[in-house]
Symmetry: C2
Subunit: 204 residues, 2 copies
């Protein structure tokens, strides 16, 4: 079930809260006030309270939030309370950076497979994953993967997307600035470095 009417901006902040809570938990804390959490994740306290108000109230007045419980609730809302498998398509510079990245664990994710079409990359091991031949992507459906990260060159993005969707993936993190066309039920989040840079000067 999806909580209705949650603004995208709130959904965007939930993982940020979650990371903050995970770090606090590692530091041995068990509860936190909204102002402490706010300070920790650099988001305004009223914003946090407003975000949390969409899901009922998580906190206890004067005590604050139970860190473990709050993290559990947020994971449930984001539907990441189960393990989510991820596949990477494209092991160029960007793909290699993603494979070496250790920050997914905090959310219970794992990149479990990586594909490329470059013979010099196929078979290479990065961070315990062996790069596979992208021409075998058609067999991926057997591995029940939910999400894909697309880091292939622009002109290959659509064909790789089509194959991934046939394999049963439901969501795509897309690094290609070319828009990719997907069925309505597939969610695409595009990370567009140039356009993120382009909106910086607005705030100068």
């Amino acid at each position: 079930m999806r909580y209705s009417k949650i603004p995208n901006e709130t959904v965007r902040r939930l993982p940020v809260y979650l990371r903050g809570l995970a770090i606090m938990s590692r530091q041995g804390l068990s509860s936190v006030s909204s102002s402490k959490l706010a300070d920790f994740v650099s988001i305004h306290p009223w914003q946090i309270r407003k975000d949390f108000s969409y899901f009922g109230d998580f906190g206890t007045r004067g005590v604050g939030y139970d860190i473990g419980n709050l993290a559990k609730q947020i994971k449930k809302i984001l539907k990441i309370d189960t393990t989510r498998k991820t596949v990477l398509a494209g092991v160029g510079n960007l793909g290699s950076a993603i494979m070496s990245y250790t920050g997914f664990g905090i959310y219970g994710f794992e990149v479990i497979a990586a594909f490329d079409n470059d013979p010099s990359k196929i078979g290479r091991r990065i961070n315990n994953i062996t790069v596979e031949d992208i021409s075998t992507l058609g067999t991926l459906y057997k591995r029940q993967i939910d999400m894909a990260i697309i880091a292939v060159p622009e002109q290959a993005a659509q064909s790789v997307t089509d194959l991934l969707i046939l394999s049963g993936i439901k969501g795509i993190l897309n690094f290609s600035p070319r828009r990719i066309i997907v069925p309505k039920k597939i969610k695409v989040i595009t990370i567009d470095i140039a356009s993120d840079l382009a909106r910086l000067p607005y705030y100068f």
Copy 2:
């Protein structure tokens, strides 16, 4: 001057419109309807009209938008109607991918310098830029750079940020999941791959 009360979500979409308009212009088009533009950038027509309504009305009923004029207006709003120089800190896998990336030109940006602390990288030329020694970052202020992209390891992010701010940069695109502390007048946009991935399942 900054147009007031523009939602961040609208600012986020303006570069996307701009890229669509640039591609259309290259294809030889001179005007476009909001529904055509909507289709091209995969954003709903009413969303586009609503976004544009914050700046007065750009279109002419029955004719649509003049592509050149609309692009010019959006650039002005985003304050990218002048050339903006960008520096890159960190030339690992991610930094190398950024240096090889050709998508900044559409917004009139240029990565004009790159720094790293790895002797094996210093002096290397990537995409016409020679990687410089990060210990010389203190001289950067002479080059009047507006923006920085931070792609250094987490533990180096804050000290590099401090040096960049001393060099006069006003905005940072930050790839480090560690929050960086900056003075109020500096704008930071964080690209957080793990948390983008973490909000995908919400939409399943």
